[in-house]
């Protein structure tokens, strides 16, 4: 029975690199997967590419590859990553340059493209965003990116053709793991059950340390050993889809039935219908079993035939977000923060600042849940936060200015003002037929 081992190398764009390198050195893995692309990241990357056609890939690509490539070569580990973001071809070129600079030979790099459907957006002008019903044609001038979530097929094809490193743009996260499985085991993509199992495995792995004790600890209730040194997960899976999750003995954290259950349900809606480009996966009958310390067997995953549609993320500009904060301390701090809120509110109103929505929080009191799970009015420190969305940048600036003015024109003892203004790039989605997207793979070699 053939078995392969896949390590997680990153669970989000700015994730730690040390655990990935440790897995490559000591984990006896065949593949490592770096999942680095959030919904919004690609829209921002697309804007960088518009300014410079050689840009638009993950900003940490060079940093990561400088340390990863020598281990790919010495430990015979293949890499899958979506760090290509808006420009996988330029990313592949950069990887080649890093390899050449390090005198690493015999590397085949594959760039999987086709997810970017921005140039085709007008075909979908009558479609509405699933989140808020707004029509594509009505937000057309604000749209900055359109990327379909492509599946595992292009990744598997790249490995079939001998790639050592596969770099994608927007691909569904579990597909980054499913691709190597299809290649290694010769799984048919029409086998919904195997696609479902592979997708479940990928889903458990895609957030890095979130299955090995990261984002889990709650002292006294859920204690995690050596969390400071938490490791990333390792998937061991055979051609029948039997799978184990584990971590390195030398790394901190833990793999238990509880950590696996939390991650299995993370960002899931109906557990029986988890839609990806490859399959409609079914986790509803999943079971977990601790087979030894830090090794959990997961079974019961399955799937149904894919929908034939690709979810497509539309990035569009939606004005500006102004945020500003100021702290008050000692007795009476809550009253002074509330007075400051009232002052800012009245001044913005009289100045007729154009605001779509504004929100005031007292951090330490009500900023997370609005209601008062906080310490009441006797708190000895509190931080007023003002957040506003505006159409025009001048109005966003007016909001932050009024908070800054609290130094000399507000209640006593306010300090530590921080302000920021950001462009809002919102993300909505539409579904487009799979046949509208042509996935292609481009290869380059370091000889």
């Amino acid at each position: 029975m053939k078995t392969i081992r896949i390590g997680s190398g990153a669970g989000y764009s700015d994730d730690r690199l040390e655990p990935a390198l440790e897995i490559m050195e000591k984990g006896n893995v065949d593949y490592i997967v770096f999942e680095c692309l959030a919904e919004r990241t690609i829209a921002i990357a697309q804007q960088r590419k518009m300014k410079n056609p050689d840009e638009g890939y993950d900003k940490l690509l060079a940093y990561r590859m400088e340390q990863v490539l020598p281990l790919c070569s010495s430990e015979k580990v293949k890499v899958v990553t979506n760090m290509g973001a808006a420009n996988p071809v330029a990313a592949a070129k950069l990887i080649k340059e890093v390899a050449e600079a390090q005198n690493i030979k015999g590397l085949k790099i594959a760039a999987v493209v086709g997810d970017n459907v921005f140039s085709e957006i007008d075909r979908y002008s009558e479609e509405s965003l699933l989140e808020n019903g707004r029509k594509i044609k009505d937000i057309r001038s604000s749209i900055v990116s359109a990327n379909a979530y492509i599946g595992a097929a292009g990744i598997a094809e790249a490995f079939d053709n001998g790639a050592d490193i596969v770099i994608t743009g927007r691909a569904s996260d579990p597909s980054l793991f499913l691709g190597p499985l299809i290649h290694e085991f010769g799984w048919s993509m029409d086998d919904a059950e195997l696609m479902g199992i592979g997708t479940m495995a990928g889903h458990l792995m895609e957030c890095g340390a979130q299955v090995t004790g990261g984002y889990f600890a709650d002292p006294g209730y859920k204690d995690v050993p050596e969390l400071w040194n938490v490791g990333f997960p390792i998937l061991e899976i055979d051609e029948k889809g039997e799978l184990l999750l584990s971590k390195l003995d030398t790394a901190g954290g833990m793999v238990t039935e509880s950590t696996v259950k939390e991650q299995l349900l993370y960002e899931i809606h109906d557990p029986a219908n988890y839609l990806t480009p490859d399959v409609i996966a079914d986790f509803s009958q999943a079971e977990v079993q601790q087979v030894e310390k830090d090794v959990v067997k997961v079974s019961g995953g399955s799937g149904k035939e894919k929908s034939g549609y690709f979810k497509t993320s539309i990035g569009y500009k939606e004005g500006y977000l102004a945020e500003a904060e100021i702290s008050y301390g000692g007795s009476g701090s809550v009253e002074r923060a509330k007075l400051a809120q009232d002052i800012v509110s009245k001044r913005l109103e009289r100045a007729n600042v154009k605001i779509d929505e504004i929100r005031y929080d007292l951090i330490g009191q009500n900023s997370l849940y609005k209601d008062d799970l906080g310490q009441g009015d006797s708190a000895k420190e509190v931080r007023l936060r003002v957040a506003a969305r505006t159409v025009e940048p001048e109005d966003a600036a007016a909001v932050t200015r009024e908070v800054e003015a609290l130094y000399t024109n507000g209640p006593a003892g306010g300090g530590g003002i921080r302000t920021s203004i950001k462009d809002i790039v919102s993300i909505g989605s539409i579904l487009i037929p799979e046949k509208d997207v042509s996935v292609e793979v481009f290869y380059s070699e370091v000889l």
Binding site: Y221, S258, K261, E262, L264, D270, A286, V288, I427
Partner: protein, 99 residues
């Protein structure tokens, strides 16, 4: 007793939808949570921030429930004015529910 004594939880987000898992430590507590922590109770508990439908999915083999809360994140991660725009901290509030 707070829910925290018998269960753990993690929040996820997609657009303006938040999902919160609720997982019992001991299978023997599953029936109690099934009875007490209904979708309606959870909607009421989050009434200040959740404006849409709340659906509960049951996963008895995992000793788990998944609450999917619509219109729960102030318009969605990218435009929400909330400090915790992902609603990551909602799981901790769920565990503070008295049962």
């Amino acid at each position: 007793m707070k829910l925290r004594e018998i269960a753990h939880s993690r929040t996820g987000d997609k657009g303006n939808i938040s999902n919160i898992s609720l997982i019992v430590y001991k299978q023997e507590d599953y029936a109690l949570v099934e009875e007490k922590v209904t979708a309606a109770i959870v909607k009421e508990w989050f009434s200040e921030t959740v404006h849409g439908e709340v659906i509960r999915y049951d996963l008895p083999k995992l000793g788990a429930f998944n609450f999917v809360m619509h219109d729960a994140l102030g318009g969605g991660v990218t435009k929400s004015l909330a400090q915790d725009m992902h609603g990551k901290s909602l799981s901790s509030k769920l565990l503070d529910l008295e049962i």
